[in-house]
Symmetry: C2
Subunit: 382 residues, 2 copies
């Protein structure tokens, strides 16, 4: 099988991830920080070590806080639902947001009279229109601005830095979704003006399923509580703790997944991953655009990495995916990819979404050539 659905979850993981998880599962899967005994303290130490690696990866100082959650979706729920929003506040979203952001904002809007405003794209392109957004901000002041770093549909690298720069002129809370970028694009927490950087363990970091989280910038106002539970401390207190990260970390920690993430983080080489994925993205776009009847939804290459969406005229996306799987053992993802807004701009509804290639550092040009040959055969071009 050629696996090209790495934007959903990367596969395979480094061997060290599998080994670390099996080892911790068999020998060290204790309830961290909840026991007075040594092996429970060792679990706590592993969590701290993993958090330090996350901070180092984004060049953050030790006054930033890392919160582990079972998934980036839960992290984004805790952030977005936790922000102190009032009736009349404006939430700005890019049209590239995933439902882990978009549906959460919708949920917030059912409880509070907030306005959800979509940022515009430049006419005739798929890129965020920063100038128009600036103007919108003057008309409707932003309170919360959410931006995905890399689109999980097109691989477009969003102008996060510029966007958060202008958002901070209004003291807006800024949230960066790095599900498709952390470990591939260098992120500097000191530079990017993101209050919250949400991350997924199992995607571009090559860690396991079961752990995600967020990095909170120093001295942030506390979020309102979205989820409550036992914290292994101050048990007689019915309120969640005031201190971060404890405030957002309830229930037994998944130390097995964290061990996998820790091993994955040891292997992350952002510079190298960037070059591999950039080159392969470029190559994939080149190869696909040469095939007749193939439409590629690609941003310009300097703003593009890791994910490539396309369609084939005359076929719905799902049919292409089905044939690639059945006849060529090539696994791609088809449909709307949990991204509710962008399809209006891509105009892919008649194909019922797109065929998506999600690359990993383990893919190579041969995989892409095999895919291209399969597509040519399918449409009778060879």
């Amino acid at each position: 099988m050629i696996y090209l659905d790495n934007a959903a979850t990367t596969f395979p993981k480094p061997e060290s991830v599998y080994l670390a998880m099996d080892d911790v599962n068999r020998n060290h899967a204790f309830n961290a920080g909840r026991g007075s005994y040594r092996v429970a303290q060792e679990a706590s130490a592993l969590i701290d070590e993993t958090k330090a690696r996350i901070l180092k990866l984004v060049h953050a100082g030790t006054s930033s806080r890392v919160v582990f959650t079972p998934s980036i979706t839960i992290a984004l729920n805790e952030i977005i639902q936790g922000v102190d929003l009032r009736d009349g506040d404006n939430i700005y979203l890019t049209p590239y947001e995933h439902n882990a952001v978009a549906r959460v904002c919708e949920l917030v809007s059912e409880k509070k009279k907030v306005n959800i405003i979509q940022m515009p794209v430049i006419d005739g392109s798929f890129e965020i229109d920063i100038e128009k957004t600036k103007y919108l901000f003057t008309q409707e002041k932003p309170k919360l601005v959410c931006c995905t770093h890399v689109s999980n549909v097109t691989g477009y690298i969003l102008p996060t830095k510029e966007l958060f720069e202008i958002s901070k002129q209004y003291d807006a809370v800024t949230v960066l979704d790095t599900a498709q970028s952390l470990g591939i694009i260098d992120i500097n927490a000191n530079d990017i003006k993101a209050d919250y950087i949400a991350f997924a363990g199992h995607k571009s970091l090559y860690g396991p399923l079961g752990v995600g989280g967020f990095i909170a910038a120093p001295k942030l106002t506390k979020l309102h509580i979205t989820l409550a539970g036992g914290t292994g401390s101050d048990s007689l207190n019915l309120k969640m703790p005031e201190s971060v990260p404890g405030r957002y970390e309830y229930a037994s920690t998944n130390i097995v997944a964290i061990a996998g993430l820790n091993a994955a983080l040891k292997e992350v080489n952002v510079e190298k991953n960037y070059v591999i994925e950039k080159e392969l993205t470029k190559k994939t776009v080149e190869v696909l655009t040469k095939i007749p009847n193939v439409i590629v939804y690609a941003p310009s290459i300097e703003k593009h990495i890791g994910v490539i969406s396309f369609n084939v005229k005359g076929y719905i996306a799902e049919d292409i995916g089905f044939m690639l799987d059945q006849d060529y053992e090539i696994a791609v993802r088809t449909g709307y990819h949990c991204a509710p807004f962008i399809h209006r701009i891509l105009k892919d509804e008649k194909y019922i979404g797109t065929v998506r290639i999600g690359l990993s550092k383990y893919n190579n040009e041969h995989d892409i050539a095999t895919l291209a040959n399969a597509l040519r055969k399918m449409i009778g071009e060879t």
Copy 2:
């Protein structure tokens, strides 16, 4: 090491759990139900198989629904925060509830004007007073009734069936927390009148960290949404799906943890586990009560399983735990065990909680004899 903190998380797990997780991690860790390709469909099939095992375990028909969440804490948040509560509604809790229930109810009470009422215990005992509770219900009608099945502090088996029987006379929503009981005590979903049966994968089921969930009785009113996110389907819709379980299952499924749970469920033998834990609980209480200055907080043996709390006069609980760990390599848990209410009844505050023994099917009488000898030495009795 003698591990006696199985009420926090069971350790070890059956060998088949480790093998299944490593196999799925290495070979089948794909994003279930989100791809049109076969290996993603295989992941979906594994989820369905595991859910069927859960239903079978509680003798539920296929019209019940199993929802997987990353932990029982999140399951309980989704249930309790999701119930349609109005101002003035009464939530009844037993004094044995864990903070995964108690703190969630507190959170609900910060958003809505609900009353949280604690059920009484029989004077001079640690047992729920059903007669007084019946009377309380006539005075303050219950809307939501939460009951832990087995106390995570004392191992007390609560009178769940009677309690839900009287709750249903008022059409109350009934929630059973089986973190310490599923797999050890036979639960019959047809009989117990629980609308929601919440379960933890990593405790009495001997599955891994990273998966829990709940069983919803057939034809229940939908819960309000607590957490939103991508569901891999109907992506253009900003609302969570109406259908269950999809409505409560967002984000990438942790197929590795589910594979471990599936393997664990294959090995569950409720009748056998019950006998092992019952006998060992009885033995532990017998042995501990013979040691001078040891106070055991034990219900009568027919209402007791798996967990035993005690203290030693003259020592705070934490010191006993520390000495057992350092000098004898015996791992117990000390403190309040995330159970906020029961300590007022146990009157253990001067010990700052209790020393807790959490048994598993892998413990034996030798473990308990070693513990007893250690305690005798510590207090200068041998």
